[in-house]
Subunit: 341 residues, 2 copies
């Protein structure tokens, strides 16, 4: 099929002009060409349904048309955002390249510098920490943060209602039990962690449940993806030892580690423990029991990020956006015994 | 912690020289400097345990030190390779950027052209098809293919023993049943698909089982990740309707779709159907029943790819490599009734 696609040569042949002439028309360098010649080329383009290779063309015009998406780890949450971001960017003839900082601040800095040096059109950043030293040389390149926010810098951001999300997850748990509700958190230095922790605490306070700091576990994300799954696993083992009855796991990797620890312990979800995670995935639906989670609007984040980046590149002002999460109630957040009521 | 890291300024201060002098020493432009001055700088570097920013430095030397990894979809298999590839490349001060062709040959072509135009140091390609039109302008940039092979071009490649892998998976199934063994395959135009299909057919032939083409399903990958999960789902629904007793799912996304269809049908793995998938993941261990899969050596692929790319960039010749897979036998590939023997 690809072979049937019309080329520059085909257009030149049909219009009966040189390839250079077609190229001049495509690049708007046709001032010196007669109107008649230009029309012949445009007719041929229409007749053949020719699509110029915008990517190759952009190279000649000196724009990289390349967006770099700096993620902190290999959480599938970012992969889902990427899918829609790719779709949106394709409309604007922008390519998205993904790189991972592996939660390392120095690597993040090196990546930003490398890609600004590569003349990328813009950077989408999931920052490793909630502070960032913006260098003066960076100001020429638009930077958009998503998921996690940077405090004290006026960078545009796309985030979600993290506090409300964790509040809703915890409230759903409290509807079934008020005893020993554990909380699994990521790195303390990121905005999503503090916001989700606050949501959990607010829900407990609202229900007059004492907040027990010994049931709250942070993870050491410094080593990236595996370290975070591992943190969820070890924290859950500890929580089980403490007699935990319910767990709120505030991201996909922590949930994964928690499920592993629960499975190994011989405890049964919905019988001994209930759990609400964060981030939807295909596995949540096919797991037994089906997993209740806070679903983040990954598609919308990707789409809005693509739009905002496109506007930023064109020099337009953009406003930060906060999107809504949704609690997906499946089987894992109720005790089987509750059903007998 | 990051703030305690010594800077170029600190080195200059300790050595009692200018920043320009330190920079000259770091960039091996110290021929005009006295040996004594050079030694003072090196002593200060050692004393402070100063690590120069190789990435920023490489920019000044004109090398991009950027590797682009072109994947066809968001299969976690590639994410796992990436983790180790990142580790290996970091040793050589190379950054890895990932882009997705979404199984689209034209997009793949545009990506290769864009990044060669960006002066990337090398390309790691998981090709969309088993043929590739290598352009003359591309020859200056090393291209390494991984996972899938290109036929008819002398590109170095890293692959696995796909035929043997599918043979082993199918043989393990045949040990439990010889009836209605379905096969879920990806796109027919890629090398891994034809090799895995051959392994399945060889195993059936060896056991005198007639190959039934109606039990073999290809997927339409054109739309990327979701389309592939969907293909696995619909093929499995059809197979269940055909009275399938066992399924070999030749990648992670197809397996995911198959599990969804089986769960929805009310059939039970190990009671009604047995299954062997491809590609290991955290979920395989925590799923009920635990999932048997062909495990590909993702870490080794990532590590070897990093080494090969480093050699290619340095102009060294490299030989293609075929790595070994492993059948991980868990619960999903045996009928519960078998255990009563």
């Amino acid at each position: 099929m690809a072979n049937n696609k019309p080329t520059l040569h085909d257009v030149a042949k049909v219009a009966d002009v040189s390839i250079a002439t077609v190229s001049n028309v495509l690049n708007n360098k046709s001032t010196e060409l007669g109107i008649k010649t230009k029309q012949k080329v445009l007719d041929a383009i229409e007749k053949l349904n020719y699509e110029p290779n915008h990517f190759a063309r952009s190279l000649k015009t000196g724009q990289s048309n390349l967006i770099v998406f700096i993620v902190p780890d290999q959480n599938p949450f970012f992969t889902e955002i990427l899918t829609e971001l790719n779709n949106e960017c394709q409309k604007h003839h922008l390519h998205v390249a993904v790189v991972s900082s592996e939660e390392n601040e120095l690597k993040q800095q090196a990546l930003i510098e490398t890609f600004i040096g590569q003349n990328v059109s813009a950077i989408i950043l999931v920052p490793v920490k909630s502070r960032l030293n913006l260098k003066k040389e960076w100001h020429q390149t638009p930077i958009l943060t998503i998921d996690r926010k940077i405090y004290g810098e006026a960078l545009p951001s796309i985030s979600v209602d993290n506090e409300k999300a964790a509040f809703n997850a915890t409230q759903r748990i409290v509807d079934s039990t008020s005893e020993n509700i554990g909380l699994l958190l990521a790195n303390p230095d990121i905005s999503t962690t503090s916001e989700r922790k606050r949501g959990y605490e607010l829900a407990l306070a609202k229900n007059n449940i004492t907040i027990d700091q010994q049931l709250i576990y942070y993870s050491n994300q410094q080593l990236g993806t595996d370290a975070q799954i591992d943190s969820g696993y070890h924290a859950t083992r500890a929580l089980i030892y403490q007699g935990v009855r319910a767990i709120v796991a505030t991201n996909h990797l922590l949930l994964l580690g928690a499920l592993q620890a629960i499975k190994e312990s011989g405890k049964k979800i919905t019988e001994d423990i209930i759990i609400v995670g964060f981030d939807d995935s295909y596995w949540n639906e096919i797991y037994t029991p089906k997993l209740s989670v806070i679903s983040q609007p990954t598609k919308e984040i990707g789409r809005v990020a693509g739009e905002m980046i496109h506007n930023l590149i064109q020099g337009k002002a953009v406003a930060s956006v906060e999107l809504s999460t949704k609690l997906l109630i499946r089987e894992s957040c109720s005790f089987v015994s509750d059903k007998s009521f």
